[in-house]
């Protein structure tokens, strides 16, 4: 009897599994901003002994977990406007300082969701460009170019099956040449001067990835086609 292969059922990592993987890759003691949406879930996998300190764009370092309902304080919210808590050692500052912290290259890592990432590290994540859609950019453009490293967390394929890692973004850009790693349900990609390198694969093979994408891939997994 024939075993079903990854080609027919590329399952990959769950959102939570991917969040755990990214948390594992964040250096100890790093200052980190997690974008709204998918990346917020990474905080569930950062242990206190990691020493990671979370920044939120609305003026806080040392952000703690979401506040339980009965402890919600509307003066203490995250970028998604959800009530959160403060950890020992937290600090508050005004918006211009918060974005200077970002733009000035003081954050070690920021993790963003995306509609598309290009092979040269461009990111599109703020506007579909469709007529009638009301554009909203928030802090995305500042975050994309500000941190020392910008990671993207996304599914490799859109709901209709189109690859989101592309030769060139077709959605309006958020930032140019700023993404260094792309974490997806199917693989981790490094973006550098030499091109796009597959660092890790989850339930699929290098050849399957190469078939899915129009981007030229380099293989660093040393597992080849499994």
């Amino acid at each position: 009897m024939k075993t079903r292969t990854a080609a027919t059922t590329p399952r990959g990592l769950s959102k939570d599994g991917l969040a755990a993987r990214i948390a594992h890759d964040i250096p100890r003691g790093a200052f980190v901003n997690l974008g709204i949406g998918l990346p917020t879930g990474i905080s569930n996998h950062l242990t206190p002994d990691s020493g990671v300190m979370l920044h939120t764009e609305n003026g806080m370092l040392g952000m703690g977990p979401e506040a339980p309902g009965n402890a919600a304080d509307l003066d203490l919210i995250n970028a998604g406007k959800v009530p959160v808590t403060e950890l020992p050692g937290a600090s508050y500052f005004h918006h211009a300082d918060s974005f200077a912290m970002m733009r000035g290259g003081h954050l070690d890592v920021c993790v963003l969701g995306a509609y598309q990432v290009s092979a040269r590290g461009d990111i599109a994540n703020w506007h579909t460009g469709r007529p009638g859609d009301i554009p909203a950019v928030g802090g995305a453009m500042d975050l994309a170019i500000g941190a020392k490293e910008t990671f993207v967390m996304m599914n490799l394929l859109s709901r209709d099956g189109a690859p989101k890692l592309v030769p060139r973004c077709t959605y309006p850009l958020t930032g140019v040449g700023c993404v260094s790693r792309v974490y997806t349900d199917l693989a981790v990609f490094l973006i550098g001067d030499e091109g796009v390198t597959v660092q890790d694969m989850f339930g699929c093979t290098f050849d399957e990835l190469a078939d899915l994408l129009e981007v030229t891939l380099l293989d660093r997994t040393r597992q080849g086609s499994r």
Binding site: D75, L76, I77, H94, A136, V137, G138, M141
Partner: protein, 232 residues
């Protein structure tokens, strides 16, 4: 010299039609709801409003927009799950939108208060929001020229003021308050508490009184609407 207004209505009474008004707050945190309600009541119209968002639910900034008083919004994140009044006016072509990346919004406001003529920022380079703007390459990196954002009035919410107008804020409700207070010709602040001069530790004052023109005590500010769903 700071004035202490008896009511929010008195505090905003001088705002004329056509004024540019900065309104502090990031979503509900730091939104001076009572001052905005008073502005709705004052009847001032054709306003240009500078705020991070474009109103939530039916109160505060959303009520001002709903009442048709806002000609133009300058903001970073208008579209939210409950920004229905802005959405409607925008789709009907009744409100103009200047969309600004959030860090550029904060820095343009800061620049106005700090007397900076313009500045080069890497944010937005290569994107549609930099189209038509001057670009300069400095040490191998590309920057976009951005100009200050000034206002006739700033409406800010702080936690406490002393009788001179020195301000302290509470947690993430600080957000745009300090930079807006410095960037407007006239800054009006609602606070939960006014304390005697000398009662605030000078080391912890965030906004010095030089930036504040009028304070009004609003003891238990109504909570701004909590957004349904998320938004930056």
């Amino acid at each position: 010299m700071v004035s202490i207004a008896g009511t929010a209505a008195e505090a905003v009474a001088g705002i004329p039609d056509g004024a540019t008004v900065m309104i502090g707050g990031f979503g509900p945190a730091g939104q001076p709801v009572e001052l905005i309600d008073a502005l709705v009541g004052s009847g001032a119209t054709s306003l240009t409003v500078i705020n991070n968002n474009a109103g939530n639910g039916d109160v505060g900034l959303a009520a001002l927009i709903r009442a048709g008083r806002v000609r133009k919004m300058v903001c970073s994140f208008p579209r939210q799950a409950d920004s229905r009044h802005f959405d409607q006016k925008y789709r009907d072509g009744e409100i103009e939108l200047e969309l600004v990346p959030q860090g550029n919004l904060a820095e343009r406001i800061r620049a106005a208060g700090a007397g900076i003529g313009a500045f080069y920022t890497p944010t937005g380079y290569g994107t549609p929001l930099a189209e038509g703007k001057e670009i300069r390459e400095i040490d191998g990196r590309h920057y976009v020229l951005e100009y200050p954002l000034r206002a006739d009035y700033a409406l800010v919410k702080a936690h406490q003021a002393d009788e001179l107008g020195n301000l302290v804020y509470r947690k993430t409700a600080r957000n745009f308050g300090p930079v807006m207070a410095a960037a407007a010709v006239t800054t009006v602040v609602q606070v939960e508490d006014v304390v005697p001069v000398g009662a605030l530790n000078p080391e912890i004052i965030v906004t010095p009184c030089i930036y504040v023109d009028c304070i009004v005590r609003v003891p238990a500010p109504a909570r701004a609407p909590e957004p349904v769903g998320a938004g930056q």
